[in-house]
Structures are given as structure tokens and as C-alpha cells.
Amino acid sequence: MLCGNRRCAHNVKGSTAVRFCENVGKALLTEVGIAVPKGVVVSTASAAADATTKLGPTAIKALVPTGRRGKAGAVRLVSDPAEAAIAVEAILGMRIDGYQVSELLVEQQVPVSQELYAAVVNHASSGGPLMLFSACGGMDVEQALEASPEAVVKCVASVGHGLEPDTVRKAIGDLLPEDCVDAVAQSLLRLYDLYLNTDAEIIEINPLAITTLGAVVALDCKLAVDDAALPRQQSLARLAATEPSTSLEAAAAAAGLKFIELEGDIGILANGAGLTMTTMDAVEVFGGKPANFLEIGGEAYRSADVATALLLRKPGLKSIVVNFCGAFARCDVMAAGVIETWKELEPEIPVFFSVLGTGDTRARSMIRRELGIKPFQDMDDAVRSAVEAAASRS
């Protein structure tokens, strides 16, 4: 059931979540011994109809890695091949949370007696894994984290020592009929192992169903993997869903840069995630609208030339703020990159520099000499000037 046609588009670490569609998650569940309904991945109405002929009444589900499929009408129950075909026609091509539906899962319907919730997530406050379990399916992970202890059982695990079967059995014992406890506990322990082995940030089964025959079956699977772990999760990486991105964002990712396009008209180039966000914030505080997030922190500080060229490709820019606060990143090296591209492309966009920190004296004199622009020493002044320049050009 693993579909291999999804390419991995995660060249920039830390910029995107690595999400997986339901079919990939379910294939992994099957591998560790958690049952899932019979199903096939299709991309045409006729294939869905054929599958429904074989499987009987089915669920037709869009394969996009987002929790809003149900609300978008991209999950439908059908009872015969004709209905299956109609459902597929309606769902194919839908855009949900930026993801376009090109494949669907056609899955045999399962007679359910109870719907449960199960997840294992990275838990920042305890610095370790957290298992979440509830006898009521249907909530999302945030609700589960906020829910009262009576409704949701939370088990903090130790990565070193793992989860004890007895701990899990005790934790869920009060919430379930006695004859289900062992089977559900076993599924939770297998889910925990899968979480550990895949470097998952979250793995969630919602709902985890107890069928009328008493079997435990996963009716959905949400999986997001830590992108920093992709170097050691290569086989999994190839199965990741393609994240929606604009052509500029994709070009930046290919160059190893983090670029996020926004609605505004004031372009931003800064070093470091915190400073770049702060620069965006300052643009808003002074009454402007940021056009983007683009940072060249860390080792990327040597790519200021490429970053500047990418920024200048963004249509509709009315002014640009370049805000450098050098620590690890050297201001002179970053300034040289901006100057090189600026002289090559000669854009007619007003640009305002604020330069501070490692290599700042040299950077300031280079900007003054090469571009004839006097850099500001205070970022507020640079941002305020850029906002004013943008306003005067509209």
C-alpha cells in the first residue's frame, strides 16, 4: 500500500514539517502488527468503483496530510461502485490546506462498536515522549493535550527505559471494558515503538476502533516526522507528502534557504530566525506589511548573494529592509553578498540597511562605498524608513 511516487522536497531542515498521508502511516502500522481495514490507493473514479465492487461498502478518503479532510467533504462513505465513482469525481482535484488531492484511499467499511483516541507525541515540557489515550475518539491532539485527566490518559515515557506494559494496562484499564484492555494496550505499545523507530514528532490513530467482533483496528493514521532525522530515515523520507510551496519558496529551498512568502510589500532579509521574525514584527509595528520571511543565519550567511536575488524575484516589493545582527554570521560577508547582487541586477527598489555585530564596521563602509547608501545603526530606523518609502510609492 506504500505509494512511492511522492518525492521528498525537504532540502531545508527546520523549514517544513515532514508529513505523511494516511496510507503511508497505515502501511507502517501494519508492519508493526496494528490492524487496518483492507484498502487500495486509487487516482481514478473507475479504480475506486472496481475496488468497491471487491470490498463492498467503502470509505473514500482524500490522501492529503491534513486533519481538515472531513470538514472539506473529502471523506465519504459509499455503499456501491456507482457512489464510489461519484465520490471520487467530487474529491479529486480538491485543494485542502494548500494540498491538492491527486490520490484517494478506498477502504472497506468496518462495523465499529467503540472509537478510541491514541497518540504518541514529542512533549516539550517533559523533554520526552508522551502517550495520549482516550476512550472517546474524534478529538484533535491539542484538545487531547488540554483535556482533563478523566477524559484523556497521559503517560510520560522515558526514551531510555521505554513504556512498561503494566503501566499502559493500568493507565487505560478504567476507561475500557475488561476484555479489550490487553488488545488495546498491545496496540499502544506497538504504536510507541513505531514512534521511536520512525523519529516521529507525532503519530496519532484517531479513531482507533474496537469492532463489533472485538478486534482493534486503526481507522486513520496521522504521522509527522522530525526533519532533522531524515538523514537516518531515508526510506521513510521518500514517502513523505510534498508540502505546498510557491515557486520562489521551492527555489529558495533548493538553494538551502528558508523563504516564506507573505502578503505584504516590504521585503525582508535578515540573519537568524529570531531577528528575521523580529524584523517582520517591526514592519507591522510601524504600520507596514512584510512581504516575506527570508533568513541567512547559521552557515547560510555566506549565501546573501543568492538570497538577495531570490528576494528581488518577489513581485510587488515597494521597499526592502536588510537587517544584520552578526554573531556567528559575519556582517561584512553578508553585506558583500547583498552588494554583489544589487550591483548586478540594479533593482529600482529603495533599500534600508541596519548593521550591527561581528564585522559591522567593515560592512557599513562597504555599503556606503559600493551602493552610496548610509546604513542605520538602529533597526527601528531602517524599518521605519522602509515603511515610509513603501507608503510613498503606493
Binding site: G272, V283, G298, F328
Partner: protein
């Protein structure tokens, strides 16, 4: 958590280009670097210091309290565990993109060995006028001056900017603690605050947070117990939901980790939040006025 000049530092990955550069700056500033670790180059000398294959080997020849990690992401876990088991009580992990699962093991190793883990993805520790470990411009007099304000930041670049504004307005920094930009880190802002609360030299604290996670909400809960004036800035009010803003930890997911939630939590516990970093000195002056300490906190 506060680095002193007499603290002996062992640098993992010392032979790399960036480590060589930064160790040079640290030593010039006064840091006590006793040597380095590179499993492939034991026995050589680098930047006039000995290089061992592991902290375990280094511990046979010398003593060290602090391990500074300039290692590749997938090597961080074993380096940190090696350092802690060899007796280092503080491990500062500068490396970005360490898998979160490895960070969890590093945190458990820290607990087991009664050591502190700072980071990963931290810009390091600075004690202005005395010593530093990491990649902060401690040596730039427009950014760091010795003083009595403790600074805790998730981000290096934003922390640099905040320290600059303090310096520009006459406040000095007692110590800078970079907690790191990852979703899960060893030392949290709340632990940093508890530490500064008990630090005699520190009379006020500046918190530089950002969107994502719950560290700001947690540190807010500790404000009353700290019993020292605190001010804050939180980056990311303009960030879109669901996108990671450079730092792996800086993402608003649904309702949690938002700028508004963090500002609300901080203000509820009496911590004024600046709209921009440039407002931090004025806020600091406000919360400190009425206290005798204000004069002594100014340089």
C-alpha cells in the same frame, strides 16, 4: 549555568573551521579551553591544545567542567553522553538540526549524571568581561558590557540585538543564557530564570522568547517566585500559522504557541512585554525604578 573564568572547557569538534575560529575568540576573551575532542585525530595538537579521541580519554589527562559541542547533528548525542559520563557538569550543544529523539536521550543522560544540558541549537553562554562559550559576539563592546541584568534568549541573533540595546542604554549584562531554538531543549527558560533568581549579581532579567512551544508560558509561572524585576520580548507576532519560522521550534500550531498566548501569560504574571526589542531598556528602567538597585545596575 553561569560560566566563570576558572571553568575548564573541553571543545568537541575543535578541529573544524568554525570551531577553530570561535575557540580562538573565546581564548582571546579569557575562556579556559583545556583541549578538544575529535575521534579521528587523537594525539594531535590544535590551536595549541591537546586533542583526545573522547572525553573519557581526556579525563585521564585533565579535568574539565564544561563541554562545548561543535559537532555534526548525528554526533551530538554520543558526544553529550560521553562528556557527561566523563564528569562534565555542563554540556553546551551549539549544533543545529539534532534529531529530537537524540535530544531526549541527551536530557535523560543529563538527569542521570546530574549535569546540565544547554541547547541544542544554542548560541552559548556569555559572562561579559570574564569568559564565553559559543558563538556570541561577547568581544563586541557595543553589544556586551558587564553588569547586573541577566538575559535569557531562544535566539542568538535576537539575543545579540537585545544585549546591544541594554548596553546602549547603560545597562550591563551579568550573564547571557542561550536556551536554543529547538522544540525540545535541555535547559528551559524557566530553569534559566530560577537560576538567575538565585544569582547574587543579577538584579533584573530580560527574556527573549518567540512563538512556538510553551516555554514562555512556563517561565511566566515562575515570575513571582523569582522575586526580581523581569521584562520580555516575544518575536513572531506577524508570523503566519503553521509555518516554521526558521527555528525548528518556532511554529504556531493551531491554537497553541501563539504570540498572543505568550504575551497574555507573561503579562498575567506581571512581566511587561515590549513591542520591539528597542523598548526593553525603558521597560527595564520602569520595573526597576522604586528599587534601590537601579543605580548599581547602570554601568
Amino acid at each position: 549555568m553561569i560560566l566563570r573564568r576558572n571553568h575548564r572547557i573541553l571543545v568537541f569538534g575543535i578541529t573544524g573551521r568554525q570551531a577553530t575560529h570561535w575557540v580562538g575568540r573565546m581564548v582571546k576573551y579569557g575562556a579556559n579551553v583545556v583541549g578538544g575532542v575529535n575521534p579521528r585525530k587523537p594525539g594531535i595538537r590544535h590551536v595549541e591544545r591537546k586533542v583526545w579521541a573522547s572525553a573519557h580519554d581526556a579525563a585521564k589527562d585533565c579535568r574539565f567542567e564544561v563541554a562545548l559541542l561543535f559537532v555534526p547533528p548525528l554526533a551530538a548525542r554520543s558526544a553529550a553522553v560521553d562528556a557527561m559520563e566523563a564528569g562534565s557538569n555542563t554540556v553546551v550543544c551549539l549544533t543545529e538540526h539534532v534529531p529530537t529523539r537524540d535530544v531526549m536521550y541527551m536530557i535523560e543522560a543529563a538527569t542521570a549524571n546530574r549535569a546540565s544540558l544547554v541547547g541544542p541549537n544554542t548560541p552559548g553562554l556569555v559572562t561579559p568581561g570574564e569568559t564565553f562559550a559559543g558563538i556570541m559576539p561577547a568581544f563586541n563592546p557595543a553589544i556586551f558590557q558587564p553588569g547586573r541584568v541577566g538575559v535569557i534568549s531562544r535566539s542568538g541573533s535576537l539575543g545579540t540585538l537585545a544585549c546591544h540595546y541594554l548596553t546602549k542604554h547603560g545597562f550591563g549584562v551579568s550573564a547571557f543564557l542561550g536556551v536554543g531554538g529547538d522544540p525540545i531543549v535541555g535547559t528551559s527558560m524557566a530553569e534559566g530564570l530560577r537560576f538567575f533568581a538565585g544569582h547574587g549579581t543579577t538584579e533584573a532579567i530580560v527574556l527573549c522568547g518567540e512563538i512556538g512551544g510553551a516555554m514562555e508560558e512556563e517561565v511566566a509561572e515562575c515570575a513571582e517566585a523569582a522575586a526580581k524585576p523581569i521584562v520580555a520580548f516575544v518575536a513572531g507576532r506577524s508570523a503566519p500559522v503553521g509555518r516554521r519560522m526558521g527555528h525548528a521550534g518556532a511554529m504556531v500550531a493551531g491554537r497553541s504557541g501563539t504570540h498572543a498566548s505568550k504575551v497574555r501569560a507573561l503579562e498575567r504574571h506581571g512581566i511587561p512585554v515590549a513591542q520591539l526589542p528597542s523598548e526593553l531598556p525603558a521597560l527595564l528602567y520602569n520595573v526597576m525604578s522604586g528599587r534601590r538597585s537601579i543605580e548599581s545596575s547602570m554601568r
